[in-house]
Amino acid sequence: MQKLIAVSAALFLLNGCYFSRKKDDRPWPADLVTKIEVGKTTKAEVLKLLGPPKQIIRLLESEAYMYVSSIEKNSGLVLVVLNLSRSDRQYDSVTVIINRQDIVTAVGARFSAEDAEYGLPWD
C-alpha cells in the first residue's frame, strides 16, 4: 500500500502540463464581411476592406480571394513516462469570388477560430 502511495505521490509531484495558443495571421472583424455585396462590391473595395488575400486562385470564369486566419490550441500533460497531448485548430476564413469585370459574384465566410478548445486526447 505504501509503495502505491509513494508511486502515486511521485507521479503527482513529477508531472508537468502545458497549454499553448497559436494564432496564424490577423483576424478581421465579422462585420467587415457583411459590407461585401454580391453584384455590387468591386475587387478594389474588397482589397480595401480585407487587405491582400492569403491566396488567389484562378477559376474557370473568375478568381477566388482566400482570406484565412486560424487559432490552434494545444494542451498536454506529462506524467514521467505517460504523455497526453491534444491539438485543435479552427479557422476564420472568407472566400470572395470576383469575376472578370472585377465584381464580387459570391462570398462565403466562417468565423469559428474561437471554437478551438483545450482538452484531452480522446475528446
Binding site: E61, M66, S85
Partner: protein, 174 residues
C-alpha cells in the same frame, strides 16, 4: 528505516524508466464537421456557387481542374497511441539511445465533401463521405478514390500559383 527506503525506491522507479519508456496518447482535430452535414441541402443541377458559399461558408480547398471548379470541405479527427522502449547506447561523451520496441496504434477520421461546378457556376457533382484510416495510414473506405483525388488536388493546389505564373508568361509570349 527499511520501510522508508522501500517507499523511496518505489517512488524513484518511474524516474528510472523515464528515459527508457514512453507512452503517449495524442489527439488532434481540425475543421468543423457540421459544415459537411449541411452539404446535403444542396442540389446538383440547381445550386449555384454563390448559394453554396453562402450556405456552407468558405471551402478548405478550391481549385480549377479541367472544365470544372472543385471545392472541398474537410474535417479531420485523429487519435494515436504510442509505446516506445529505448535502450541507452554507451557512447563516450554523448547521450545516445536506440529504440528497442515501438508500438503505434491510431485511428483517423476524415470527413470530406467535394463539390464540382461548371463554367456557369452550377453544381454538377456532389460527393460526401466519412473515411476511417488504419494505423498504417491507408484509408479504408468503400470508394477511396475521393480521398485519393483530394490528396492529389491538395498537392496541386499548393503548387498551382507557380504554374499559373508560368501560364501568364506563355500567354504574354504568344
Amino acid at each position: 528505516m527499511i520501510r522508508f527506503a522501500r517507499a523511496a525506491l518505489a517512488a524513484l522507479l518511474p524516474l528510472a524508466g523515464a528515459g527508457c519508456i514512453s507512452i503517449s496518447l495524442e489527439g488532434s482535430k481540425e475543421g468543423l464537421a457540421r459544415t459537411i452535414v449541411d452539404v446535403h441541402r444542396l442540389e446538383t443541377g440547381k445550386t449555384t456557387l454563390r448559394e453554396a458559399l453562402a450556405r456552407l461558408g468558405p471551402p478548405d480547398l478550391l481549385l480549377r481542374t479541367g472544365e470544372i471548379d472543385r471545392l472541398y470541405y474537410v474535417s479531420w479527427d485523429s487519435f494515436n497511441f504510442k509505446l516506445a522502449i529505448s535502450a541507452p547506447v554507451p557512447f563516450p561523451g554523448r547521450s545516445v539511445s536506440s529504440d528497442a520496441f515501438i508500438l503505434g496504434l491510431g485511428s483517423e477520421e476524415l470527413r470530406l465533401a467535394r463539390l464540382e461546378f461548371d463554367r456557369k457556376g452550377i453544381l454538377r457533382d456532389l460527393q460526401t463521405g466519412s473515411f476511417g484510416s488504419s494505423s498504417h495510414g491507408e484509408y479504408v473506405a468503400i470508394d477511396n478514390r475521393v480521398v485519393e483525388t483530394f490528396l492529389e488536388d491538395r498537392t496541386r493546389a499548393l503548387t498551382m500559383s507557380d504554374e499559373d505564373d508560368d501560364d501568364d508568361d506563355l500567354d504574354r509570349k504568344k
